[in-house]
């Protein structure tokens, strides 16, 4: 069956699904751009995007809300794509940057950089990515062959995660920093993020996203047995490594911006799979819908955090609670998790 045929096959029409998700995400963007302490109406807010009249309202929209919106969309997309890549590469439905240790490692890299090295944005994102790679390498070394046993990978990932969280705590204690700072950061959120974060984040996010979509034909092959992939002329191990690295870059750069937000990488690809049904086998389509889900979830979580909790509950709190419950429901209902 060619990709086009699959796209047209039954269920919710793909065009409708994609436009619906895009509309939800855009509504979140609109709401996020027009809500804030400096009062602006929706139309004013949109107007300020094109026309800067020098007022505080225009400044808020252009310099404070817009970069934050972009960060939220980018982080949502990066985490969702990263999760989808990990799930494909490891053939493990539980693949998630958090459960494979990548987020913990990136968090450690960022904390180490902030407390000991430098507070410059570029250094932060680089050490976050280095930490993410270190953690991913450790997880895969410990788990052995990644497709051996799903629980082995996850247990190894959780162990690596616990280690890096402990190491982060030790860094904070020994550098006499407040553990509360660490906790606030560990839950993830977008409070007071602006162009500085976006500038350090976007090259990685854009490169990672392009790479992920460019890899989709190879990813499709990776869902088959390795021997079959080899018969189609694909060096499965090499492509696994490439796709794995892309997923680490996406997740770690997202962590450097927003902290280790949990569950988006797991929930978004699964929701996409649920909505697409059999069509999720079309890799680019699945990636695309996952990305949109990730964006919509994160932008709305941040909007709700700002509008109703006035910053007391960062976006990460809302995502963790909703995502965690979704996680358990999916686990309870999904038969494929049976041992």
């Amino acid at each position: 069956m060619s990709a086009e045929n699959v796209v047209r096959a039954g269920g919710v029409p793909v065009a409708l699904l994609i436009s619906l998700l895009a509309a939800i995400a855009l509504a979140g963007v609109g709401a996020s751009l027009s809500i804030g302490a400096v009062g602006t109406s929706f139309t004013d807010a949109l107007g300020y995007l094109w026309h800067d009249d020098g007022s505080n309202a225009a400044f808020s929209v252009r310099e404070l809300r817009l970069p934050r919106v972009l960060c939220a969309l980018g982080v949502g997309a990066a985490l969702a794509l990263s999760g989808a890549l990990i799930q494909t590469v490891t053939r493990n439905p539980l693949g998630d940057p958090g459960l494979t240790g990548v987020s913990g490692g990136a968090a450690f890299g960022v904390a180490l950089c902030l407390t000991l090295l430098s507070q410059s944005a570029g250094a932060i994102v680089l050490s976050g990515i280095a930490g993410g790679f270190l953690a991913a390498t450790l997880t895969f070394l410990i788990a052995g062959r990644p497709n051996l046993q799903p629980s082995r990978l996850i247990l190894a990932g959780v162990a690596v995660s616990i280690f890096f969280i402990a190491a982060t705590s030790a860094v904070m204690i020994l550098s006499r920093s407040s553990m509360q700072t660490l906790y606030y950061w560990m839950i993830g959120g977008f409070i007071n993020r602006d162009w500085v974060e976006w500038v350090m984040f976007w090259p990685w996010a854009v490169a990672g996203t392009i790479a992920a979509f460019a890899l989709s034909p190879a990813l499709r092959m990776l869902t088959f047995e390795d021997s079959m992939a080899a018969s189609m002329g694909l060096n499965a191990t090499r492509w696994r490594l490439v796709a794995g690295s892309v997923s680490v870059i996406l997740a770690a750069s997202a962590v450097a911006v927003a902290g280790p937000i949990a569950f988006v990488g797991f929930v978004a690809p699964h929701l996409a799979r649920l909505c697409l049904g059999a069509r999720h086998a079309v890799m680019w389509l699945w990636l695309c819908v996952s990305t949109l889900f990730g964006m919509a979830v994160v932008i709305w979580a941040d909007t709700i955090a700002r509008a109703f909790f006035s910053g007391r509950a960062p976006a990460g709190v809302i995502i963790t609670i909703i995502g965690g419950i979704a996680f358990l429901v999916l686990m309870r209902s999904a038969r494929r998790f049976k041992g």
Binding site: L155, A156, I162, A166, A170, L174, M179, A262, G324
Partner: protein, 340 residues
């Protein structure tokens, strides 16, 4: 190494770390003080050892041996060298219950509006009880979620890990949002600390622990059979489908009573069984014995390091075990993978 020759070595090692634990801390004491703690003329230093270091050392022994044995049961029954009871909802449930209680202390333990502002605090004496209830409830929830016309060990462990992740997320969310001013105490507990623990914290965990350890020892022939695949185990006359969850439940209770004393302490349940398998003879009896001792030695040593390294500040014991444990763990797993 045979069990008979290993026992004296374990005893000597445990004695050494215990002596170190009694010797080092924020207050400088002499070796003579350590050896004179039973003398009839206590001085200030022997008093410090008796009041603070001895109870902590005992608590560390109890916690270490419980967590390690519990880990051995988990890894044996699940036939998975990466299983650890504290990743399995036991720690997450305890953390959830304690932090929820700290947040709700103003409703649970109101102490009136002294000096105009309503104040409240969670007495540390009630924390172990709350932690125990939380971890047992979480374990029950894991079993309930995993029930699917019987238990599959793999499904149990996956559900356990996921529930732990969810609970940890919710705990972080609570720490941040519900109560800014109680955050630091919650964080200290969540790191796994023996700060201010005395015999009154350890005693309630003893009957549970002794009962669970006895049950595991009594069931050790069956545990031994469970190391093999279900068909082999069945041919040895062991009812895998009922026995596996029973043993996991007992082990979870054992871990829960350890977590109730000091909060979540990572990696002990994970690495000690590996060390035990590496050192001890491949019989369950030898491994149980090794786990009890190595676990105790590891936690006593970690607490000593945490107390002595940055005094008067303390690095919580849970952080030290994680830092020491993770590299050992990575090494062991690689060594094992190569052997297979």
């Amino acid at each position: 190494m045979s069990t008979r020759s290993a026992l004296p070595i374990y005893l000597v090692l445990l004695l050494i770390v215990c002596l170190l634990s009694l010797r080092f801390g924020a207050v400088e004491v002499a070796w003579s003080d350590v050896f004179n703690i039973t003398s009839e003329t206590p001085n200030a230093n022997t008093q410090v050892i008796l009041d603070y270091r001895l109870p902590r050392t005992v608590a560390a022994i109890v916690i270490g041996s419980y967590l390690a044995l519990s880990g051995l049961v988990f890894q044996t029954v699940l036939r998975n060298p990466l299983a650890d009871p504290t990743m399995f909802g036991v720690s997450g449930g305890a953390a959830f219950a304690v932090v929820a209680a700290m947040s709700l202390a103003i409703y649970l333990f109101p102490v009136g509006e002294s000096l105009q502002v309503a104040t409240s605090y969670l007495p540390m004496a009630v924390v172990p009880v709350i932690a125990l209830v939380g971890s047992l409830s979480a374990t029950a929830l894991v079993f309930w979620l995993a029930w699917d016309r019987g238990f599959s060990p793999l499904r149990l462990v996956l559900i356990g890990v996921v529930l732990a992740a969810v609970l940890n997320g919710i705990v972080m969310a609570m720490v941040l949002t519900l109560s800014e001013t109680r955050t630091e105490l919650a964080i200290l507990w969540l790191a796994g600390s023996l700060y201010a623990r005395d015999f009154s914290n350890v005693l309630p965990a003893l009957p549970w622990g002794v009962a669970a350890i006895s049950a595991i020892v009594i069931l050790s022939p069956q545990l031994s059979a469970l190391r093999f695949d279900p068909q082999t185990a069945a041919s040895m006359g062991v009812a895998t489908r009922t026995l596996a969850p029973v043993l996991l439940g007992i082990a979870a209770c054992l871990a829960a009573s350890a977590v109730s004393i000091a909060g979540p302490i990572g990696f002990v349940g994970l690495i000690v069984p590996h060390l035990a398998r590496l050192i001890a003879r491949p019989t369950i009896a030898a491994q149980i014995l090794s786990c009890l001792f190595i676990g105790a030695i590891l936690v006593v040593a970690s607490d000593t390091v945490g107390r002595a390294v940055a005094a008067p500040l303390e690095v919580p014991v849970g952080i030290v075990t994680s830092l020491l444990g993770a590299p050992v763990f990575a090494f062991l797993i690689r060594a094992q993978a190569k052997r297979i």
